[in-house]
Amino acid sequence: MLMAAASAGTGKLAAVWRVWAPLAVLGALCLLISVFSPNFLTVSNLLRLLNSASIPMILSVGATFVILLGSIDLSLEGIVSVSAVVVSMLVANDVTGVAIGLWAVPLAVFLGSLMGLINGVLHVWLRTPSFMTTLGVGFAGVGVATAVLQGVTVRISDQNFRAISLGRILDVPMAVWIAAVTIGIAWVIQERLRLGRWVIALGTDELTARHVGIPVERTRIIVFALAGAFYGLGGVLSAAQFGQGNALIGQGRLFTTITAVVVGGTALSGGSGSVLNTVAGVLIVVVLANGMVLMGVPPFVQQGVQGVLIITAVAMSLDRSRLDVVK
């Protein structure tokens, strides 16, 4: 009985817990790992941690907007792929003779948002569920990237471009600064722009939102395009980090991204959550992975632990009082 009440979250205490749960989990994790491994709380390790969190952060923050709508975006691996491949072929490299330097970055981000736009348009006009639309666009993206490269790997030689990932300001890696700015932009969109309010409204109750006069279709399309732009930036950073353009560079990112968003406390059903929740979620996932490596946990066990993490995190932070039906 008590358990049911607690998980249904009818008490005020439960509501407060739900808001702070992600941060509490993060704090507890950090404490636990530092007990087992004194190397965890060193500056160099924390910087390395933030560096590996940068790309997942950018991807997850983009996905948050889509998930707040109540939709899901499975195309991020494909968009990251296409963006990384295109940017690697546009800066100085060993396959194409093109070298337009850092202008390739906004181009690749724009390409990402274009693919996101296709997601949104297909989803809205054809009225296909976002699950299927984005899955299709994602596969098509990876396919296009593979076809363009024909199995070849493009090696980037433009050092200015590599500096996006390898450079340091105040001894903090460039990627971390870029991720921080991206979080800032996403927070501004969510809190200060109408778009942010509309996204929450649509995720909470689309019918009511429509009656109130919110432009539902336009908002959906814009959100998918926005997410695409974030993924495009993620792809650019991936190419800079790895020094290569490769059709499979996005592989494995989808699971980590969705995990991070959900662990952070954003409901997959939409309407509840925020960019800051996702930031906490990404940090939890990355800290856990970092901690497991420090403790020497074998890679296959790490995957199992991540799975348990999702289930625990969702169970703790989901507001089940508002869910009549759990599908």
Binding site: L166, G243, V293
Partner: protein, 363 residues
């Protein structure tokens, strides 16, 4: 036509039209390669190299070697890519055997050892000629499949890996912790190179410690991720990185670069790819072993071609020409200039000139 029939017939005819159009489009898509093929000029024999992926620089050069030989005799040449998938590798070869009616000469680097047996048996059935590289089961021999299974080529991983590991230890100052990246665990070269590394570590008399060994499956990205994790876990204790091939070595190098360690922690690999040679010049790689994939890619077709055209009777050749090693060249900072200025000359008429001895099976 009754009222009930009419909508049904209309629907069927529209649907039928769409289905028909899709069918034609599908057939056209499948038929295109065939159409192109029949209009190109071709000799009796088709040549093909089968390899894992052209994203791997060693295999990209291997494919080029085959292309060079095919051009020299004006034959049709195909590159079959397995993408690390054994089933795909085997079915691609079977499909090509069908398409060419058995008039195929294939130079295959099998994704994994068991694949070699299936491929050899399929080629023998079809009357095609096959050479295998690197991976095959120990009990599969070319002389049991005369004349179709022409030869097996490889390079002895054990002494070469031992030598290059010693180059690494020297670059580390003779002592310290080493991390090692392995190839696909069941691949023959992966087993041989690990054995060579282990021997070198034993010979160091405890001065060099193996901190960890992880298979990265010959894949650059996997090597990158694993090395990042190692730097997190071992930090300054990592004094050198041993990679069973240059591709993985490049991935490890990028991970070192992310942590400002490129050039400070030496890396060694095997294969002798162009990027590794550049890295040796830049002081980021301590050394590599060059196998000359242009030679294996080309000779692996030249030898069976000589058999197919009757110039060579393979059944009369000794076992040292049926299963043989090539020579690996150790490239380090001292020898890299020499290596680059003397590119290997490949004479397609000198079939066994670079063979250095029969393959040994170590228990």
């Amino acid at each position: 036509m009754t009222k009930n029939n009419q909508p049904a017939t209309d629907g069927v005819s529209r649907r039928l039209l769409i289905k028909g159009a899709m069918g034609v489009a599908g057939a056209a898509a499948f038929g295109m390669p065939f159409i192109k093929r029949s209009s190109a000029a071709e000799t009796t024999w088709t040549l093909a190299n089968s390899l894992r992926s052209v994203a791997n620089p060693y295999h990209a050069t291997f494919a080029k070697g085959g292309e060079n030989f095919a051009k020299s005799i004006g034959a049709k040449y195909e590159v079959l890519i397995t993408e690390g998938n054994s089933e795909k590798g085997i079915s691609d070869i079977k499909a090509l055997l069908q398409r060419t009616g058995g008039k195929l000469i294939v130079n295959v680097d099998p994704n994994d050892s068991p694949d070699a047996r299936v491929i050899v048996e399929e080629c023998k059935k079809a009357g095609a000629y096959v050479v295998t590289q690197w991976n095959k089961p120990a009990d599969l021999h070319p002389w049991d499949f005369n004349p179709n299974y022409v030869a097996h080529m490889s390079f002895d991983g054990v002494p070469n890996a031992k030598k290059i590991a010693e180059v690494l230890f020297k670059g580390m100052g003779g002592a310290g912790g080493v991390v090692a990246l392995g190839g696909i665990l069941s691949n023959v070269p992966a087993i041989e190179r690990k054995a060579g590394l282990d021997m070198a570590i034993k010979d160091s008399g405890g001065k060099v410690e193996l901190l960890d060994f992880q298979p990265a499956d010959w894949d650059e990205k996997k090597a990158f991720d694993i090395t990042q994790a190692w730097i997190t876990r071992f930090g300054d204790k990592v004094k050198g990185v041993f990679a069973a091939n240059d591709g993985m070595g490049m991935g490890a190098l990028e991970a070192l670069r992310q942590n400002n360690l490129a050039g400070k922690v030496p890396v060694v690999g095997l294969d002798g790819i162009a990027e590794a040679v550049k890295a040796i010049e830049a002081g980021e790689f301590a050394g590599t072993v060059a196998w000359d994939p242009l030679w294996t890619g080309g000779m692996g077709l030249a030898i069976p071609y000589a058999v197919a055209t009757g110039k060579l009777d393979i059944a009369k050749e000794g076992k040292e020409h049926r299963e043989f090693y090539g020579t690996g060249i150790i490239v380090t900072k001292d020898s890299v200039a020499d290596f680059k200025n003397n590119p290997s000359k490949i004479d397609f008429n000198d079939l066994f000139g670079k063979a250095t001895g029969q393959i040994q099976y170590r228990g």
